[in-house]
């Protein structure tokens, strides 16, 4: 609660995309023989996808990072909550996905099917299950960071939904140069989202805090 207060006041200071929307979407679990056996819940269930940064609680976000077993931004760093709140407030796009996991894992009750159809998935009550953000200069370029979905809800199209939403929000602001840094095993995922290697053939480089030892020798 403290963290949400923090991000709200920061939003008054920094810029952001004006339109904040929350959508209810339905995802279908890919039913293989294994999943049908394991999960008694219905294959079709609702998730809530939101682009409002105020719906993200940095504490829940840190737990999500832990669940997804991701070193933060591909570098293992100690995740300070305050730093997370600062990063969220200065991200141009913040997409969060919520889901009511109790409904998901419960035994299906066929009597209350209509009531379940109208079940409200709320960012305040339900668990943060997916996240993605982008940093931009609102003119030329943007970079996507930290796209993740909890392991139990992966391979259902939620991640792609997040990336597509980020891209749509950026292109609606006329930003077309959208980049993302990904490791080997994430490359296929981003390829499926419509990303590819740079046509200009540029090399991605990261700062490693140590200048190469060969440089002074050469001179």
């Amino acid at each position: 609660m403290v963290a949400i207060g923090l991000s709200r006041t920061q939003l008054q200071v920094t810029e952001g995309f004006a339109s904040k929307s929350m959508e209810l979407k339905w995802v279908r679990r890919r039913t293989t023989a294994k999943t049908l056996h394991l999960h008694n819940a219905k294959p079709l269930f609702p998730i809530y996808i939101s682009t409002d940064p105020r719906h993200v609680d940095p504490q829940h976000l840190r737990d999500l990072f832990a669940d997804c077993n991701r070193a933060f931004s591909t570098r293992p760093e100690h995740l300070h909550i305050r730093k997370l709140a600062v990063a969220l407030s200065h991200s141009a796009v913040v997409v969060s996905v919520f889901c009511n996991l109790q409904h998901l894992n419960a035994v299906p009750n066929h009597n209350s099917s209509i009531a379940d159809f109208f079940v409200p998935v709320s960012p305040f009550r339900d668990q943060l299950v997916g996240f993605g953000r982008a940093v931009s200069d609102y003119g030329l370029t943007a970079s996507i960071y930290d796209v993740m979905v909890i392991p139990s809800l992966q391979r259902m199209g939620i991640g792609q939904m997040i990336v597509k939403k980020i891209v749509r929000m950026l292109t609606s602001r006329d930003v077309y140069d959208i980049s993302v840094l990904c490791s080997e095993n994430e490359r296929l995922f981003f390829k499926a989202c419509g990303f590819g290697d740079d046509i200009l053939g540029s090399t991605t480089m990261m700062y490693t805090r140590t200048a190469p030892l060969t440089a002074p020798e050469r001179e």
């Binding site: 403290v2 923090l6 030329l140 480089m205 990261m206």
Partner: protein, 306 residues
Amino acid sequence: MWLANESRIPSSSSSPSPSHTCIINSHQLSECCVGWTRVTRIISHILTMLTLNLNAISSSSVLFLNLLHRTNADTLSLLASSLVFVSDHNLFTVMLSPLVAATRKFKSFQLKAGFWESIKSGLMKNNTTQVIDPPSVDEEDEEPLPQEFVLVEKTEPDGTIEQIIFSSGGDLDVYDLQALCDKVGWPRRPLSKLAAALKNSYIVASLHSIRKSPGSEGNEQKRLIGMARATSDHAFNATIWDVLVDPGYQGQGLGKALVEKLIRALLQRDIGNITLFADSQVVEFYRNLGFEADPEGIKGMFCYQL
């Protein structure tokens, strides 16, 4: 949270028996407060603190206060009653009088926000008041202090002095930048987008050359000769874009100085993850500055399905 706070207060009060009744009444008081707006919560908190610390308290007067709550008295009337109640102690009336003036203002525009907030706080697991925290975050989250200093100073044989000034304030003319991009051979980009990109970048470092002729007129010629900018989320990641130096000034270590200063400013802000996308001919240049190509298999990808 309320219950935890109230349990701390009794240890400070001296007399045990009146404070006991005070604690019980303050518990009931706090339960009434759960659905209230933030301001009234703060005021009632102050009131309970005052009631518990006063020595001249009588249980009957506290019960009177409690009765007021039960009948859902108006905020101002509550404050009026509390003012009458503590009129013996002039210090506390001085403290409370600005609150009375403030509540009128607060009530009008915080009524709407308070309604949703009370619903939200009722739904959330841990609700704490966040009165103190926001200002401290704003202090930490400052923009990098703009630096400006002379990087190189040269005197030519005819007496003209040329200074190369480094500036991280981002005070750039977008037309100058467009002309410099043309000189370097970069494709043209819309001016409005360039201006927006400069405005929203975390740091914009630039190099200007100032030529002063030795004559008494002292006419200065200021030209933009280099630029580098970085976007960031102010906490973890930063990306360096658009590093360029005027072809006439290349090969002097100016580009290296630009990027080094940029990196130092970013590291000072504890932004450890600095990336960039280098064209093939400048990969070696960045490698000498401490960058590593495709570290740990991490590669950059760009969106083509727009």
